[in-house]
């Protein structure tokens, strides 16, 4: 992912033809959030409260001039998505990490063949 300094973000604009998403996972995370709010699993406002919270935390870190782990809007977006699912008791962190391990091991096995 491209990380830009704030000055660079505002330089050389406007970018009329820039892409909506910079990686497929961003689009996927966005679509999951939209789908969950469409189907009433959570409301968009519930999700947004977490998004504001995650962005606020990242802003504080930036305001102190510290380097933040994982720059980029969709990183906060994904954190907010996880937070709302945790709050609803639907997906917790250990469940997620177990599944991540399983997927990466399965991928690894595929590559060995």
């Amino acid at each position: 992912m491209k990380t830009l300094k704030p000055e660079e973000l505002l330089a050389g604009l406007p970018l009329e033809n820039e892409m909506t998403f910079s990686a497929p996972w961003e689009a996927r995370a966005f679509a999951i959030a939209v789908r969950l709010s469409e189907s009433g699993v959570c409301t968009w406002d519930e999700f947004r409260r977490h998004l504001i919270d995650e962005i606020g935390k990242a802003d504080k870190v930036r305001a102190h001039g510290w380097v933040e782990n994982g720059d980029g809007y969709y990183v906060y977006f994904l954190r907010a998505l996880e937070a709302v699912l945790r709050e609803k008791g639907l997906v917790d962190t250990s469940m997620l990490e177990t599944r991540m391990r399983a997927i990466s091991e399965a991928d690894h096995d595929d590559h060995d063949h």
Binding site: M1, L4, P6, E7, L9, L10, A11, L13, P14, L15, E16, E18, T20, F21, S22, A23, P24, W25, A27, R28, A29, F30, A31, I32, V34, R35, L36, S37, E38, S39, V41, W44, R48, L51, I55, G56, A58, D59, R62, N69, G70, D71, G72, Y73, Y74, V75, L78, L81, E82, L85, L90, V91, M95, L96, E97, R99, M100, R101, A102, I103
Partner: protein, 199 residues
Amino acid sequence: MSRNHVTVPTGAALRVKALEAILEEKGLVDPAALDPIVDQYENKVGPRNGARVVAKAWTDSAFRKRLLDDATGAIAELGYGGPEGGYLVAVENTPKVHNLVVCTLCSCYPWPVLGLPPVWYKSFAYRSRAVRDPRGVLKEFGVEIPVDVEIRVWDSSAEQRYIVIPMRPKNTERMSEAQLAELVTRDSMIGVGLVKAQA
């Protein structure tokens, strides 16, 4: 190798894949429903919708009035609505007032008329400076607003989203609504651009 530390973006891609798998298993998300959503926001919903709204407002004074009174209702006349489209407010640029839109807390943006926000709209730099130093920010976008023009900054929220109706440029009297819509840029509807005067 430690698996506790997840790096971005490869970690993020894996995280989303795992999340999707769990949600599918729980019957909460059908993966087949996700591609149409991505397609919708990547290809179908975008600033061209807003440009049509602006061009109609320029050519149809009754529509312009309805738009300024109740933007949500007015854009529905053109078939636009849906998520993040509620509580839309249209603010009009005039020779005395220039409007600029920001969302200081996150990224509230009128999806049905402008699509998803550009990267810089979500950046810390824009969110933190648009309110404090709108003229400075506009200058970086190449927009010089005369000192006697008031700049109004609108901070979006869950309750209200904004679309700027830019000023119609000179020498466009003979253009059709469709031709006018071609002139309207996304940036001009956020207030960081102007619609260029025609020769």
